[in-house]
Every structure is written in structure tokens, then in C-alpha cells.
């Protein structure tokens, strides 16, 4: 954190000065470790063992915050009789289907819970007879199958509970049995953290939780960049719920996100599986099951705020299609495209290789440096018809056709790359106004300082004018498929000679307005499902309340109150609430757990909730409120149910649905690891991990395989303070380049000795994908672990470099395979294996034979692996990424369009794609 979020780290230091203890758990000793009370040098990829042991410590010693757990979590709820834990099935949970390599989640449910199937989801298997298409939810993100938008748990009266938490099938006991395997001894053997150190952190955390104190967890991509990443965060959530640290000041789990508005990019997602405000993107479903009613039916549980999903959805449709969104046409719900599986970036890149994807917009992103197995991205992009890159500098993703690594090796030849490339210069943050949503859910408005130079424009400008141009060109079309474009609300006020659209007008649309008079709404409580309100993102509703840009407020910390500093600085979603689930900051009767940790409380005299933050629920809901039968949304939850986004209002210690890899976290080693799985020896890596299984994405052998010794070392990528991600905003700036000019690899003195590496000299790192070079940094900051009697080494590798700019070098991500957490489709950047040898890597055409020699030694052609998981078949890997075969689609090709012949849009028809094809776009005259 001190390295990547330096200014945010001042608050950790301030807490330390006030007496907080700071533990830093990281395989590397970093600038954070240097000032922490203690550094725990965990082995890469073993956090579930560490967190699981903390959970076990709490449960075995009765250290949980009992009153909190009893009232605010699902600890008392009984799990179905047919649920079997992974311990009893050799490492997989019940419902494992060896054929498909996925789980049937039925048995994970609560006793009495009726799993209602989302439209077009796998739970409706009978609806879809195509086996390939039948597993949408196994290929979609976990939140797609539900979860993020509130899994329905059915009628709460039907659920069986044991408030004494004694029943062997109640969540509390299931949890206790599950985590019993995670002992301090296991932590020592798997994570390499000794029992004394473990005892110190276990004591510190438990002593610092309860009525008077709270403990906070902070994580970043060190957790998400794993094939089990989602379950890392689940493990922390379970621990924090048991200790009563959620929804309270100083508690929680803080996700430190990497970029200015990465939180905003998730809230208003440019993500394939979500609509704004975490509404799921609709999945394809047979006629009759894919209308708005079916979508709402599967996404609107009785209880909690998702119970108003219809208000949010209809208001979104009204914001997009205005007067054309009417009750008669389902408010334009049928205008939305449908998803049929994983359409995230990695399958999209594969689609480029196959010629399925022919056009690509890249805006402010540098995938040929920043994505796992970046070579695969470059090769895919070399097979595009057209590419639009918008950036400030000439980044690698725009120039791979000219000077990419494959040009050097001869694998690609510039004249043979048919990709037409448009580089459009972008405006900087100072040259446009708008909001970022920073990591704390805080929307902060930036005022424009200067005009962008020359052709530089904001993405707002580009997108608005591109949309305008497309709509003009299609204006005469009567084609049904063009209606969503033509009927789109797209008339934002513009100003200045470049006709810059108004960001404030867009923000107001996002926040919402009443359709009749265009007046800004105060928040999502005012949104309606009858088409009388519009709001582009319900969780941002209220950011423009009272016709005031609330995000531009800059009132400094005036309250002096540590629990709620500066409530009028910017605007936090939702409704400017600063602590989510803050009902949990008070006891069931509505009194703060302690004076020290008070946040909101029930004022009996005024019959209202009051305090330092905005309550998570209706301000007049009594703490002892009990819903009547048939109550809806928030009013279907009790007055002491704090987790208002959950259908049952409870914090989930156990996830009865919503995750694809298990209802509780379980340790599996990374896909590429230096150690065998000691927790579940029969299952080495996560059985549900998603692999792009191809010749150009080979995996290194597993520790059980002979060839493992060829790539014997663990490598983890990381970031440093002096550079920013893929380098587009840092490697081109002189003093940043000077601070950190070369890529480097951190190795321990032991590893340096083993491989003859010299500090400051070059070394070559090689995997089954490729080889890269970096300067050697021999340092005690990174230590070997002894696992299973063997010394295992880890290499730390910052990933910021590429061939362009002032600070140049090989991209670390070229080394990595694409292998993902199936819940999120995030690749395992933080753990892979490699070899390291002294000296620079071979140049040009010599590189590939060098890499191939390694592959040969490892057992040609490397993995595609023989699976070690029970019943897993090689065919399974990547099978879910296959595109729908052409015959499966009504795809109107030119001239066979059932809607009539294609109109003349002023472009020519093109022959099928293929590398080396002739140029098939006519370059514009003025540039020819």
C-alpha cells in the first residue's frame, strides 16, 4: 500500500500513531513492511490457508462476537442434508460434475430454499438442449448467475434455523468443521509462517475486535489475481463477520483499487456481464422467458434493496430510450443485446485469432503490456480488420504492427499485418471535466483546467460524436436492428468550437430525473417502475439531487469527527453514505455497540435513526420492526437485518449460491505452483479454474509432473510507486523514467547463488510462453520458503515496462499464462512459474528456439495437461470458450439478410479475414 497507494497509506500510519497495530502479509518485504509492526512473509497463493486458520482460531476458541453473529449473519440457518464438504470428497464439494468440470450448486442451498432459476441460466437446463450453450452460468461471471444482484433464498419462513447454533447442519457448525483442517501447523507447512508469528496476529486481531474495537483488512490485486481470488475475499469476509467488523467504523474490508476510476468503471460498467448499478446483463433465453417480466422475476428477490430491481431497470431503459421506452414495448428491454457465456477480454482476444472479432476499440488501456500472455493479445490484434487506439502517448498497443516483439523475432511481418489502425489522441484529466469514482466509492468532480491541444479530445467527445455520426448514417434505415441506435436518447448539450458535450448533463442523466418535468430526483428511493422516472445508474441516483452537482462539493473536514469526516466533500454512492451496512454499527435494539464505535443509532423520542452517517435503510424503520407477510424489498427485512442488499438481510458466512467454485473457501495451489497441495493432496489447483488451452498459452508442468524442475521457481508480478500499470502514463515521463529506468527481478541471495545471478546484471526469465530479460536485484526482501522439506524460491517481478517510451524493457506479463478464476474471469497474474538464468535473452529469431528447448525438456509440448482433478478431461479446458458455431446462428451475411439486402453504408464488402491478406479498405484519398 505504501508503494502503490502512497498517499492513502498516511491514514494507516496515522492509525498506527494512535495505537493501531499494523500487520503486513506479503510474500515480499516492501515499503509497507518497513513501517508495519510486523511483516508476515507468506508464500504466494496460500492466503486461504492463512485466513482459514484465523477463522478456525476464532471458531475453536469461541472468540466470535456472539451477539453480532447470532443476529446479523446466517450462522443459524441450516444447510441442506445432501451437502457434503470437500473434506469428505477428496477436495471437491458435493455437486461436482467430472464430465463438465463444473458444479451443480443445488446441494449447497439452505434447507427449505427453493433455488429460483434466473432466466436463461443453467438452472433451467431443460430450456436449452444444446449442451454447449446449456452452461451459461458456468461460463458467465459468478455474479451473473446471481449473487451481485441478490440471490433469492426463497421464503424466509420456509428456512430452518437453529438460533442456538448447535445443530450439526447449521452454517456455524458447517463452518467450524470445514475450517478445522486449517491449523497453525498447516499455516507453517503451507504458507511458511511460523506458529509464534501466527499466534501474534491471531491474538492481535481477536483482541482488537468486539464492542469497543474494530479491525480492518486491506487488500488489492494480490488477492484478486488468483484462480481462487474470489474465495480469498470470501475468507476475509467470513472472518470479519465472525468478529463483528462489518458495517462499523474502522472495520470492513477495503479493496484498494488500482486506477483513478476503476471503481467507477465497475459501477457504471464497461463490463460485458453488467448493466449500470450491478444489474445483470440479460442472458439469452427462449421466447417467452426473455422479456422484462422474466428478467425481473429472476433478479428481484422479495427482500432487500434488489427487491426494487424493476424500478432500477425501467428507469435505466427510460434514460436510454426515452419516449421510445413504453410499457407496450417492455420499456425497450428487448433492445438490449443478450449474452451467452463469457464475453470478457480473454475470449474476445481468442475471437480475434479466429477472425470472429474484427474491430477493437482500446481507450486508455494497453493490453499488449498489461494483460496476461500479452503476446497472445498482439497476435490477436494483428488479425483484426480495424483497431482504434485512444491514448495520450504512442503506446505499445498502437504500434505492435511496427515494432512489437514479434516483429523482432520475425513471427510477424509489418507488411503482412492487415490491421487498419487509427490512433486518436486523447485529452488528459485536466483537459475535461467529469467524475472519477475513487476507491472509497467517492465521486469527485474535476473541473476542466485547459483546452485539449490539436486533435486531442475526451472520450466523452469521441463517443458522443461517433454515436452522432453512426446515427446520421443510419437515419434512413428502417431495419429493426437499427432501432435501438436510432431511438437512443443522444442529444446532450454541447459547447465551444469543438462541440464538446456537457459532462454535467450526462451526470444528471445518470443521477436521474422525473420524465414529466426533467427535474433531478433526490435518489433511488424516488425511482419508479412505471416509466415516470429515468436514471442511468440507480446507485448513483442522487449525485445530482436538487439540480446541484453534488460530486463537485469541496467542503473540507469540518465535523472533526473521525467516523464521518467531510460528508460534504464529493458524493459517495449510495446516497452519500460513507459506511455501507451501517445498521450493523448498532446492536439489535438500535444502540451503538459502544460509545467509542458509534455511527448511527435509533432515537426513540424522534422515532428515527440518527447519527453520523446516512442509514442504509428507511430512517423510520424501528429496530424491532418485523415484516408482515407479502412485504417487499427493504420492508421485507427485519429492523435488525443490516445487510440490506441480501435477500435475507444477513451477512453470509456460507454462500448458498452465487459462487461457481464452492460455498466456502478451500485452499488450492495456483495453477502453476512450486508446491503440492498439502490441504487436499488429490486436487492440486482449483478444479473450476478457467484455462485458455492453446498451443500459444501452454502451461508449465505441475509439481507432480516430471518436467516441473524445468520451471522451478514461483514468480509474482507487482507494481512500484514510480510507475503506473502498463506504463502509458509513466514510462514516457522523464523523471519517472529516471526513477525506475529498467525492468528488474527481485531474487533472494540464496536464489542468486543457486543460479549465479549478479546484482545489477541482466537475467533471463523463461516460461513455456516466452522468455524475457530483466535486471537482477538481489535482496533480502524476498525470502525462500521451506515447503515439504524443499526450499522453494519466489521471484518478484514488476510489470510496468514495454518497448515504447523513455523507460523501456520487456513486459513481465508476456511470461504468464491466461488462467482464470471462473467467478470473475480474472487471470492469475500473481502466481506462475519460470526459470531464471544469468545473461540477456536471445535476440530476434533465436528467441523461439531457446523457449522451445525449455518446452522440449519439460515434455513437449508442455501442458495441455493431463488433469489431476477427479474426472477432469482435457477437452473441458477451454471448451466453454468456444464461439457458437456459425450454423447455430441466424447470421445474416451480405446478400442473405432476412431483413432485406444490406444497405449501402459507403464501405465495401471484404473477403474473409486472414493474416497476410491484401489491404481491403480503400485508404482515404487525402492520406493515400
Amino acid at each position: 500500500m505504501a508503494e502503490c497507494h502512497p498517499v492513502g497509506f498516511q491514514w494507516v500510519m496515522e492509525a498506527k500513531e494512535r495505537g493501531a497495530k499494523v500487520f503486513h502479509v506479503d510474500p515480499r518485504f516492501t515499503r509497507t513492511s518497513a513501517v508495519a509492526d510486523e511483516h508476515l512473509g507468506i508464500r504466494v497463493g496460500t492466503d486461504i490457508v492463512f485466513l482459514g486458520a484465523l477463522i478456525n482460531h476464532v471458531l475453536q476458541n469461541g472468540l466470535e462476537f456472539r451477539e453480532y453473529v447470532e443476529n446479523y449473519t446466517n450462522a443459524a440457518t441450516l444447510v441442506r442434508e445432501d451437502f457434503v464438504d470437500a473434506d469428505d470428497l477428496g477436495g471437491v464439494f458435493s455437486g461436482w460434475d467430472p464430465e463438465s468440470g463444473t458444479y451443480d450448486q443445488q446441494s449447497w442451498g439452505y434447507d427449505g430454499m427453493d433455488v429460483r432459476a434466473p432466466a436463461g441460466s443453467p438452472f433451467k437446463k431443460d430450456a436449452v438442449d444444446d449442451p454447449q450453450e446449456g452452461d451459461d452460468a458456468q461460463t458467465s461471471s459468478g455474479e451473473q448467475s446471481h449473487g451481485a444482484h441478490g440471490a433469492d433464498v426463497g421464503d424466509p419462513d420456509e428456512l430452518k434455523t437453529d438460533p442456538t447454533l448447535q445443530h450439526p447442519r447449521c452454517v456455524f457448525q458447517v463452518l467450524k468443521r470445514h475450517f478445522a483442517r486449517y491449523t497453525p501447523d498447516m499455516v507453517e507447512r503451507v504458507c511458511g509462517i511460523g506458529p509464534d508469528q501466527f499466534a501474534r496476529i491471531a491474538d492481535a486481531i481477536t483482541e482488537n475486535s468486539g464492542r469497543e474495537k474494530t479491525t480492518c483488512f486491506i487488500y488489492s490485486v494480490g488477492w484478486t489475481h488468483h484462480t481462487t481470488g474470489t474465495q480469498y475475499i470470501r475468507a476475509a469476509s467470513i472472518l470479519q463477520l465472525l468478529l463483528g467488523n462489518m458495517g462499523r467504523p474502522g472495520g470492513g474490508i477495503m479493496a484498494l483499487r488500482g486506477h483513478a476510476s476503476i471503481q467507477g468503471s465497475t459501477d457504471i460498467p464497461t463490463l460485458y456481464n453488467l448493466l449500470p448499478g450491478y444489474l445483470p446483463m440479460p442472458s439469452a433465453a427462449p421466447p417467452g422467458e426473455d422479456d422484462l417480466a422474466a428478467y425481473i422475476e429472476s433478479n428481484e428477490p422479495e427482500g432487500g434493496f434488489w427487491g426494487n430491481a424493476r424500478d432500477y431497470t425501467v428507469s435505466l431503459m427510460k434514460a436510454w430510450w426515452g419516449e421510445h421506452a413504453t410499457a407496450a414495448n417492455d420499456y425497450g428491454f428487448g433492445y438490449l443485446p443478450r449474452i451467452t457465456g463469457d464475453h470478457s477480454i480473454y475470449p474476445t482476444i481468442m475471437g480475434m485469432h479466429e477472425g470472429e472479432v474484427e474491430g477493437f476499440f482500446v481507450m486508455g488501456e494497453n493490453p499488449t503490456v498489461g494483460s496476461a500472455n500479452s503476446k497472445l493479445h498482439r497476435m490477436g490484434m494483428a488479425n483484426l480488420k480495424w483497431l482504434v487506439v485512444r491514448d495520450l502517448q504512442m503506446i505499445e498497443s498502437a504500434t505492435f504492427w511496427k515494432d512489437g516483439p514479434e516483429i523482432e523475432t520475425g513471427e510477424l511481418r509489418t507488411e503482412e499485418i492487415g490491421t487498419e489502425v487509427f490512433f486518436l489522441p486523447a485529452a488528459t484529466h485536466a483537459e475535461k471535466s467529469g467524475t472519477f469514482t475513487n476507491t472509497h466509492r467517492l465521486l469527485q468532480w474535476r473541473h476542466q483546467a485547459v483546452e485539449p491541444p490539436d486533435d486531442c479530445r475526451s472520450e466523452l467527445h469521441f463517443t458522443y460524436h461517433l454515436g452522432k455520426r453512426i446515427r446520421e448514417k443510419l437515419a434512413a434505415s428502417t431495419d429493426e436492428r437499427d432501432r435501438p441506435l436510432l431511438e437512443l436518447t443522444w442529444d446532450y448539450p454541447t459547447h465551444g468550437p469543438t462541440e464538446d458535450p456537457s459532462g454535467e448533463a450526462v451526470l444528471k442523466e445518470i443521477s436521474g430525473y422525473t420524465v414529466a418535468d426533467g427535474k433531478a430526483v433526490g435518489g433511488y428511493r424516488e425511482l419508479k417502475d412505471d416509466g415516470t422516472t429515468a436514471s442511468g445508474c440507480w446507485i448513483y441516483s442522487g449525485s445530482y439531487a436538487d439540480e446541484v452537482n453534488q460530486t463537485a462539493r469541496r467542503t473540507p473536514n469540518t465535523t472533526g469527527d473521525i467516523a464521518s469526516p467531510a460528508p460534504e466533500w464529493g458524493w459517495a454512492w449510495p446516497l452519500n453514505r460513507r459506511v455501507l451496512y451501517n445498521r450493523a454499527s448498532a446492536d439489535p435494539a438500535g444502540k451503538p455497540w459502544s460509545e467509542r464505535k458509534k455511527l448511527i443509532w435509533w432515537d426513540e423520542e424522534q422515532e428515527r435513526w440518527t447519527g453520523l452517517d446516512i442509514p442504509d435503510f428507511a430512517g423510520d424503520m424501528r429496530p424491532d420492526y418485523v415484516p408482515e407477510k407479502g412485504a417487499k424489498a427493504e420492508w421485507a427485512l427485519r429492523g435488525d437485518d443490516p445487510f440490506v442488499m441480501q435477500a435475507d438481510g444477513k451477512g453470509w458466512l456460507y454462500a448458498p449460491s452465487g459462487l461457481l467454485d464452492g460455498p466456502m473457501p478451500n485452499h488450492y495451489e495456483p495453477h502453476e505452483s512450486t508446491a503440492q497441495n498439502l490441504v487436499h493432496p488429490g486436487v492440486q489447483a482449483s478444479p473450476t479454474r478457467q484455462i485458455e488451452e492453446r498451443e500459444d498459452n501452454r502451461s508449465n508442468p505441475e509439481p507432480t509432473e516430471d518436467g516441473h524442475a524445468v520451471y522451478p521457481f514461483q514468480v509474482m508480478t507487482f507494481r512500484i510507486a514510480e510507475h503506473h500499470t502498463a506504463g502509458g502514463m509513466s514510462r514516457f515521463l522523464p523523471h519517472m523514467a529516471e526513477l525506475a529506468p529498467d525492468p528488474y527481478a527481485e531474487v533472494s541471495p540464496e536464489l542468486a547463488e543457486l543460479r549465479g545471478l549478479q546484482h545489477g546484471e541482466w537475467a533471463t526469465l523463461v516460461s513455456a510462453r516466452t522468455a524475457i530479460e530483466a535486471r537482477v536485484m538481489v535482496t533480502d526482501r524476498i525470502r525462500p520458503h521451506v515447503i515439504g522439506g524443499r526450499q522453494v524460491h519466489t521471484i518478484g517481478l514488476p510489470y510496468h515496462w514495454g518497448p515504447n517510451g523513455l523507460a523501456v524493457g520487456d513486459s513481465a506479463n508476456d511470461l504468464l499464462p491466461i488462467v482464470m478464476d471462473r467467478n470473475t474471469h480474472i487471470s492469475e497474474f500473481k502466481a506462475s512459474t519460470c526459470d531464471i538464468v544469468p545473461g540477456r535473452r536471445p535476440r530476434g529469431a533465436d528467441l523461439e528456439p531457446f523457449v522451445q528447448a525449455y518446452r522440449d525438456r519439460a515434455g513437449s509440448p508442455g501442458r495441455p495437461i493431463t488433469p489431476v482433478e477427479p474426472g477432469r478431461t482435457p477437452e473441458h479446458h477451454g471448451a466453454d470458450q468456444r464461439p457458437i458455431p456459425p450454423e447455430e446462428l441466424d447470421r445474416p451475411l451480405a446478400g442473405t439478410d432476412p431483413h432485406g439486402p444490406p444497405k449501402d453504408y459507403g464501405t465495401t464488402e471484404h473477403p474473409p479475414l486472414g493474416r497476410g491478406r491484401e489491404p481491403d479498405w480503400t485508404p482515404p484519398e487525402e492520406s493515400a
Binding site: G8, F361, I417, G434, P556, W569, M729, D890
Partner: protein, 191 residues
């Protein structure tokens, strides 16, 4: 004005008249009197409230603008997030904006060409609009045969956005591309 006149007095007199501790104007040379702090408001035409574009902490920035150029950045002391601090990345903002290697005009590479060409911005946007329309038409998927499920989409073009885009920008991108039927709309947020 008065001070300027007094500064011409000998130091001792300055100390007697104006600066009893001898650490203020009495010790000041003509040169040091002329030095202005970098963050003095009068060195700039205006100071604009902004937010750091690098990491997600969201530190407050004060951008100093002179002659329509960002000449300096300071941390915003009012910000409850950052209390006036900026890290090396945040402090580098002016060089990010004024970078000499920044590309400010459209560059175009026709298929199989070996070099960039110039292209007019308006023409570029027009050509891109044509390509979107064309790709979309040829790669359109109406229905899935097996169950006649509506797809109403194209997988023929995709988008990958960085996470320094504004909310308003992401919103227009999602809105436009969804209306066009594109589903492979992705972001750094997943990476």
C-alpha cells in the same frame, strides 16, 4: 509598497524599524525578496480543482494554469482524502499533460502499411463510424437456432477501456455500444 521602500534601508535600520527578531525583512536580499513561491496564486492566471488521474486514492489536486497551460500542481490541502499530499505519480501531472512525446494529432495506418500517415480527425471519426456499421451488419446475430433465443447482438467488435475514464464517458460508451448490439465491452476493472 511601503515594505519595498523600507527594504532599501540598511539591514540594521530595517531590523530596528520593522523586524525586531532580525529574521524577516532585515535578512532579506533583493533577490530573495523577488522570489515567489511556486504555489503563489499570483504566478498563475487561475488555480483549478482537480483529482489525481493515477491511482484510486483520489488525491485532491490544485492545477496552476498560466497562458492556457498547466504550469504547476499542488496537493489540495482541503482534501479529506489526501490532506495536501501527492506521491511521485501525482506530482508528475504537469509533465504528463505537457509531455513533449505526447501525440496530439490523429495517426493512421492503412492495412499492411509500414508507416503512419496523417489523417483529419473528422475523416477518422467518419471512417470509424463506417467500420462499426459495416462490421456490425456482417457479424450480426439475431437468434440462436437451438431454442430460438433472441441474441440481437454482434461479437464482431469489442471495446477495452482503461480505468482512468470518467464515469460519464463509461456511461456513454456502455449506452452507445449496447444500443449497437455489442456485448464484448470490457474494462481494466476486470484485469
Amino acid at each position: 509598497m511601503g515594505k519595498t521602500r523600507r527594504r532599501r534601508l540598511p539591514p540594521l535600520l530595517r531590523q530596528l524599524t520593522d523586524d525586531p527578531t532580525g529574521r524577516g525583512v532585515a535578512a532579506q536580499s533583493g533577490r530573495s525578496a523577488a522570489i515567489r513561491p511556486r504555489n503563489a496564486k499570483d504566478t498563475a492566471d487561475k488555480v483549478v480543482d482537480s483529482v489525481c488521474p493515477y491511482c484510486a486514492v483520489g488525491c485532491g489536486q490544485k492545477l496552476y494554469v498560466k497562458d492556457e497551460k498547466v504550469v504547476h500542481v499542488e496537493g489540495d490541502p482541503d482534501s479529506p482524502v489526501s490532506r495536501g499530499r501527492l506521491c511521485p505519480r501525482g506530482s508528475s501531472t504537469p509533465s504528463l499533460i505537457n509531455s513533449p512525446t505526447r501525440v496530439t494529432t490523429v495517426r493512421y495506418r492503412p492495412p499492411n502499411a509500414t508507416e503512419w500517415q496523417d489523417l483529419d480527425l473528422d475523416t477518422a471519426v467518419d471512417m470509424i463510424a463506417d467500420r462499426v456499421i459495416d462490421t456490425r451488419r456482417r457479424t450480426w446475430q439475431d437468434r440462436r437456432h437451438s431454442d430460438n433465443a433472441m441474441l440481437r447482438r454482434t461479437l464482431g467488435f469489442a471495446h477495452l477501456g482503461g480505468a482512468t475514464l470518467d464515469n460519464e464517458e463509461n456511461y456513454l460508451l456502455k449506452k452507445l455500444f449496447s444500443a449497437a448490439g455489442a456485448v464484448a465491452i470490457e474494462n481494466q476493472a476486470r484485469i
